[in-house]
Amino acid sequence: MTAVPKTLRAPLVVEFPFTRSLGPVQSAFLTGLRERTLLGVRTEAGRVLVPPVEYDPETAAELRDLVEVDATGTVTTWAWNPEPRPGQPLATPFAWVLVRLDGADTALLHALDAPGPDAVRTGLRVRVRWAAERHGAITDIACFEPYESTAPRTRPRPHDGRFDAPVTGIVAPARLDYTYSPGRAQTAYLHALAERRTVGERCPSCAKVYVPPRGACPTCGVATTEQVEVGPRGTVTTFCIVNIKAKNLDIEVPYVYAHIALDGAALALHGRIAGIPYDQVRMGLRVEPVWSEDGRYPDHYRPSGEPDADYDTYKELL
């Protein structure tokens, strides 16, 4: 009976800058924000949609009839956010609001800067606070702010949507932070690797040993439970010669990348083969792992010096 190893945890960041192109309507709207101009689009039924879309949400008709609306509006619903989260428009407590801009028939979601929830109500009059630097994005509106005025509300004015240097795309960065934990089977695998051992798990039904183990036998659909040490030596079952150097990789080409069936395992791992000229690597070559100083997995495999394995011993693992 061995002690259950401590569950591994590590930070994991998933981050990508989505680059998106804009159609004619979104391009005009976002460019307009850069120029402190608020555009909507008029539907066939005469409704003005702000923010504008390219197709009517009710009829799916193509929409191109741009109009300019005011930078003032009315809160249609709101929610007080006492603890702003990263990436949100304001770092101090604020209200999320849907605002129907004067001249529009639909509402825009944004933040409202207000001293507290008592200062916010549905029906509150607000105006846009523009960001100091504007690039053609929804964040060019820094937020809304309360604005009481008796100035008459203007009607939507036709707008050709043309601006100098129109914005034609946006880069939408998305970053999500996770704490990764690999689960029971992979935790055991990683703990063993730290001791320079490779362990798989045996399926109680078909008796195959899976490595790396993922906790389930894909053939039988049952949990694999019995831990089995495999290797360290193995057999090259198939390989390829890599001739193009990957970016940021300091391995000289050509090199050999191979499937290696470790002794006792029912499927092959992949790894790099070194310590032998690339054109002498062959199916059946017997290999052993080479660990780097502080490596957590074998850096590569090299010939073990044994005679080649007979094809029949590994043909099921190809």
């Binding site: 569950t7 994991l12 998933v14 989505f18 998106r20 979104q26 949609l49 702000v50 923010p51 879309v53 949400p57 249609t76 619903t77 709101w78 929610a79 007080w80 006492p82 989260r85 990263p86 990436g87 949100q88 428009p89 999320w96 849907l98 129907r100 639909t106 509402a107 825009l108 979601l109 944004h110 933040a111 929830p117 549905t122 994005a137 929804i138 946006i170 939408a172 998305a174 999500l176 932070d177 996770y178 704490t179 990764y180 934990s181 690999p182 689960g183 029971r184 089977a185 992979q186 935790t187 993922r214 906790g215 389930a216 036998c217 894909p218 053939t219 039988c220 659909g221 049952v222 949990a223």
Partner: protein, 357 residues
């Protein structure tokens, strides 16, 4: 296809995990396998007996790319199986499986769904499903959007904070006897998360999985003493932009219910149970109004999503809970609802019936 030519398809087994705040010690397939085994052993089927397999999940929740392919290890995908996946709640996977059975391409189906919210922040993760031009750059989280909807309902006079607290209390009270629920029994309403929603108005964040087996015709009768026949199912979507929708109503839910036959007088018996997928208290108010549910309908006897909300599985669990109630004779005609997207954007309704007693 005419109604008379339609095959009878039923939910014949349902299982779910215990829903917990976190399951660090389990990978997704490790979390999923026990429920797969549970529904298979309940019906006596083996993986190779299953005609079609369909799942629902999202890699964004746990940040694990292609996790649904890893999960396939748990269903025994060798020799090759007929399989599909939806990147949304498993209720939509069940819909796909239902169509597969209706069209005669399979006689049995295994449907499963899982969600591990614990590795990330589900409030942040769900912002990534929003419109990338006008909404996502502002990072409005799921609670914030639900709170806007709640305020609209309060302003319209359809509810108030005490009524919302009562929904939270009833749900957790109903979950007190539920062995799998995450929040069981009374708890304080708590502080505002995003006002007007308090902690108690929000679903728990947690990990969990669920599975059901569907079967057609006589096969269903052979596998289950009282199959939960799916007499209708439909799903509808509304405009993505929140500002063009009336957040106090859910016309998509009502239409899906109409098309699934929920209100058909010809059924001869009214709906007695409704499992509504309302992660936030105010959303139950919207759904009850949209479906015009009377006080004679038992809503969320399982405790609903306020007691356990494994994202991507919680909607499938509503169908499973409704079916299980028919299996054990506690319901004769049940409505099950699943939702996806912000502020009830997408809605699925199924009507389940037991044989007359």
């Amino acid at each position: 296809m005419t109604a008379s030519a339609r095959r009878d398809v039923a939910v014949v087994a349902f299982a779910q995990t215990d829903h917990t705040r976190r399951t660090d010690e389990l990978s997704e397939v490790e979390m999923l396998m026990p429920v797969l085994h549970a529904v298979l052993s309940e019906t006596g089927l083996t993986a190779s007996d299953i005609g079609f397999t369909c799942s629902g999940s999202s890699d964004y929740l746990a940040g694990r790319p292609f996790s649904f392919t890893m999960a396939l290890d748990g269903v025994g995908a060798w020799p090759p199986i007929s399989e599909s996946h939806v990147e949304t709640d498993g209720a939509w996977a069940l819909y796909e499986a239902w169509v597969k059975l209706l069209t005669g391409q399979a006689d049995t189906a295994l449907v499963y769904a899982y969600g591990k919210s614990s590795p990330g922040s589900v409030r942040d993760v769900l912002t990534r499903q929003l419109d990338p031009y006008y909404l996502a750059p502002l990072w409005p989280d799921s609670v914030a959007l639900a709170a806007l909807q709640a305020r609209a309902l309060i302003d319209a006079g359809h509810t108030d904070e005490p009524a919302l607290a009562a929904i939270a209390a009833r749900s957790r009270r109903d979950a007190a006897a539920h062995p799998h629920a995450q929040l069981r029994g009374a708890r304080p309403q708590g502080d505002y998360v995003v006002a007007p929603l308090r902690t108690g108005d929000c679903p728990p964040v947690g990990d969990g999985a669920a599975a059901v087996i569907l079967a057609a015709g006589e096969r269903a009768r052979a596998l289950c003493a009282r199959p939960a026949w799916i007499t209708g199912m439909d799903h509808r979507v509304e405009a993505h932009s929140l500002g063009v929708r009336d957040l106090t109503d859910s016309p998509s839910t009502r239409l899906a219910a109409e098309r699934s036959g929920a209100f058909d007088a010809s059924a001869g018996r009214p709906v007695d149970t409704a499992e509504l997928h309302a992660p936030f208290t105010a959303q139950e108010v919207v759904l009850r109004r949209a479906l015009r549910l009377g006080d004679d309908v038992r809503v969320n006897p399982s405790g609903g999503a306020l007691a356990a909300n494994p994202v991507m599985a919680a909607g499938l669990i509503r169908l499973g809970e409704a079916a299980a109630r028919i299996h054990r004779g506690a319901s004769d005609r049940a409505l099950a609802h699943a939702t996806s997207g912000p502020c009830l954007q997408q809605n699925l309704v199924a009507v389940l019936e037991g044989d007359p007693r």
